[in-house]
């Protein structure tokens, strides 16, 4: 059965394979090979028979094609109500067909399915709250991604992402040594600024285990410093693990379920090893979904919960602001109109709508909600890995229009985006549509506004 050297059904498991795939600039050869990749129909059908269980079966069968989901999908709205963008159409024409044909689908069909699963759905799950039956196309497309991955029909960048997690247990090539080095380097920097501040590594029995996104370790270590300063200002007993610090999961975006398990167990091992009371995950949406909401199931934890209580960064921020452990200088509150991007993964899917509003009440004098907002807010336009897939940039950029119009309607020129993917999507949106906005994570804003306790002030002040 024909498979390519780069594009094939085998996941990446070694550094050499990963480097070879990365050397294929833009995935040119990879996509060329994909055109002649055979579909292993028997394996596909066998996999469906094992994993396509009652819930998904019911959903596919009872979907009445009523079209109530149409207006819930930002792709449908951004593409002039194109009927092929109606969620029920998208799932019925892909997964529905595979099931009805008992896996007897060809290469062209699988490529169409891949394009649909990654460029027409960000797995934001918004359609589920508008479907009269509660059918969740996001969940089903996550399932479709898994089928595609197992057959080798996965976007080049996603295959690399999955390989990164398998090789480095991080979405980027950051080794344990690199990570610890970066932490030490950042610690030196903050100690200069705030005497006595530390970034404790592998401290046992801490109150908080902080885990983050590999992009912060690789490219934006100031984010680690900011988090460290804020934990210290709030007087927290906290630590970062030397292993198991990476929260994100491109394996989830790629549909690599085996890789998902490997990744999340790495984090859970850190919990077992260091025995902290709680875990706090950085300002990232999908990391929260992967490690806290879905991870326990990947790891086979019967409780459906992480080994220790785990919360998102916004929950920690709301908590310390509420309790007064972190105090905001009222004169430094944001005066200009400001709006908030709700990350699908921890707002709609994690129920954190109210804590984020509580944070806004402490930080902003003129907070303006988007319409719709909270659980009903639209995806930023770049979720589900879409931001990072070159093949679908055109589709991604078209989808950003919905968020652009939502932001413009608030009248605010400042967007708080406590999620790495939302941050990127909004940055790219400004680059393309130039609506004159600025945007930020929470950490730099909190640092600007926080009252520094005397014992952390430099001697000369």
């Amino acid at each position: 059965m024909a498979e390519g050297k780069l594009c094939n059904r085998k996941p990446i498991n070694t550094e050499e394979e990963l480097k070879e795939l990365m050397a294929d600039r833009g995935g040119r050869k990879y996509y060329e090979e994909m055109e002649s990749l055979d579909v292993d129909q028997d394996a596909l059908w066998s996999s469906i028979r094992k994993t396509f269980l009652s819930r998904l079966k019911t959903w596919i069968e009872i979907c009445a094609r009523c079209g109530m989901c149409a207006d819930s999908c930002f792709f449908y709205l951004a593409n002039d109500k194109d009927p092929t963008q109606v969620p029920s159409y998208k799932i019925q024409s892909t997964l529905g067909e595979i099931v009805r044909k008992k896996g007897k689908v060809d290469n062209e069909f699988m490529r169409m399915t891949m394009d649909t699963a990654w460029s027409k759905c960000t797995c934001c799950n918004r359609c589920a709250i508008y479907c009269p039956f509660g059918i969740d196309m996001g969940v089903m497309f996550s399932y479709v991604r898994g089928l595609c991955f197992s057959q080798g029909f996965v976007p080049w960048e996603m295959k690399i992402g999955s390989g990164m997690h398998r090789v480095y247990r991080a979405q980027m090539d950051v080794t344990t040594e690199d990570w610890v080095d970066t932490v030490e380097f950042e610690e030196e920097g903050i100690e200069d600024e705030y005497p006595g501040m530390k970034i404790p590594v592998d401290k046992e029995n801490a109150d908080i285990l902080y885990t983050l996104n590999a992009r912060e370790a690789k490219h934006y270590p100031e984010d680690i410093s900011e988090a460290a300063i804020l934990f210290n200002l709030a007087g927290e007993n906290w630590t970062v693990p030397s292993e198991g610090w990476e929260e994100t999961s491109l394996t989830m975006f790629a549909g690599d379920w085996e890789g998902c398990k490997m990744q999340v167990e790495n984090v859970y091992d850190a919990m077992d090893r260091l025995k902290p009371k709680r875990m706090v995950v950085t300002e990232c949406g999908h990391a929260y979904r992967a490690t806290i909401l879905e991870g326990p199931y990947w790891a086979g934890l019967k409780s459906g919960k992480t080994p220790i209580e785990s919360i998102h960064y916004v929950e920690w921020v709301a908590e310390v602001l509420r309790s007064g452990k972190l105090k905001i200088d009222p004169s430094k509150k944001i005066k200009e109109p400001v709006t908030l991007q709700d990350s699908c993964n921890y707002i709609r899917n994690g129920g954190l709508r109210e804590v984020t509003r509580e944070i806004m009440s402490y930080l902003a004098e003129d907070f303006r909600e988007m319409t719709p907002c909270k659980d009903h807010n639209f995806c930023c336009g770049g979720g589900g890995g879409l931001n990072g897939i070159g093949r679908y940039h055109k589709q991604r950029n078209a989808g950003l229009k919905v968020k652009r119009d939502q932001i413009l309607a608030t009248g605010a020129k400042f967007v708080i985006a406590p999620c790495h993917n939302c941050w990127d999507a909004i940055r790219d949106m400004e680059g393309i549509y130039k609506i004159g906005i600025k945007w930020s994570f929470l950490k730099p804003l909190l640092l600007d506004m926080a009252i520094i306790p005397d014992h952390f002030k430099p001697e000369e002040e």
Binding site: W156, F185, H219, L250, H420, S440
Partner: protein
């Protein structure tokens, strides 16, 4: 004296003067020169794309692209490399400030040369509004070695350091700058000018201070200078002190011109790297952009530890 020098460049004309200076300096000290370029700004979320720092275009990172960038660097500085070949070209993707600091640590760099540029208003978030300016800030603030920032071509003999100016705002970081300037002056037998400018702009919400108030401030500054620096001078006699009043960066530049200063040493003392509002328009930034001589930024006491061996 300097064994490993890092020339951090955007490979744009903004860095040409800094390039000449870096090669001259490497030649004088027979040092290894690292020519380093951080060419792509990555995103916060997952992406294989980077934004080319120079062109603002999106690029896919690959080894092939990396080689192309290195070739371009070699080509840009070919004349200088022909004259001094003890150099190594390297580049990477990342946030420029962070990557330059990492390189300093990795190669045990003991002086950094950078061009001063003011490429403003990129379509980016607050943090990236001024990519190169930000880079200069971050490197100058955190580097464990002096950072020399070169913004204009220098016509005089750069290596005859007869007059070194140390501008102080009495901060701890300024003390680090002073100690370095003093040691540097001793080695080069230069005259050290210790200078402070009393900032009379914007005091008391635009109220113009009276002459006696200004004189009082100047006197206070003189006393502080004596208090802090007199015990530090360690018997070195070639020192002159001055306290002027006005807009600090203008006064420093005027003084440097009048005294024929060859090198300005200052602390990049700006509060916090996170408090962007404090940074933009800070005194050293203005001095850097306008100075006729190189400006060395020294912030950390450990700069001195690095030099104990050969500056003692």
């Amino acid at each position: 004296m300097f064994k490993n020098i890092l020339f951090a460049t955007t490979v744009s004309p903004d860095c040409d003067d800094a390039a000449s200076y870096a090669f001259d300096m490497a030649m004088k000290y027979n040092a290894k020169l690292y020519i380093y370029h951080v060419f792509g700004l990555p995103s916060h979320g997952y992406s294989r794309f980077v934004i080319n720092v120079k062109t603002g275009e999106k690029e896919t990172y690959s080894k092939e692209y990396d080689t192309l960038v290195k070739e371009e660097i070699a080509d840009t500085y070919s004349e200088l490399i022909d004259q001094y070949s003890n150099c190594e070209i390297d580049c990477t993707i990342g946030a420029p400030g962070t990557e330059i600091l990492r390189k300093i640590k990795k190669e045990k760099i003991d002086a950094v040369i950078m061009g001063a540029h003011h490429q403003v208003e990129d379509a980016e978030a607050i943090r990236y509004r001024n990519v190169t300016g930000d880079t200069m800030q971050r490197v100058a603030k955190s580097a464990p070695c002096p950072v020399l920032i070169i913004s204009r071509p220098f016509t005089k003999n750069l290596w005859n350091l007869r007059n070194i100016l140390c501008g102080t705002d009495f901060s701890k970081a300024s003390l680090a700058a002073f100690r370095f300037a003093l040691k540097f002056a001793k080695v080069n037998k230069s005259k050290l000018h210790l200078f402070h400018a009393v900032d009379i702009t914007g005091r008391q919400f635009g109220k113009v201070p009276t002459q006696s108030e200004i004189e009082e401030l100047v006197n206070q500054a003189r006393n502080r200078m004596e208090e802090i620096y007199l015990p530090e001078m360690d018997g070195y006699m070639k020192i002159e002190t001055a306290v002027w009043e006005g807009i600090p960066y203008v006064e420093i530049l005027k003084y440097a011109r009048e005294q024929d200063i060859d090198l300005i040493a200052m602390a990049h003392h700006t509060g916090s790297i996170f408090h962007k509002k404090d940074i933009l328009g800070s005194t050293i930034e203005e001095v850097v952009l306008r100075s006729l001589c190189p400006v060395a930024s020294i912030n950390r006491m450990n700069v001195l530890e690095n030099y104990e061996g050969f500056l003692a």
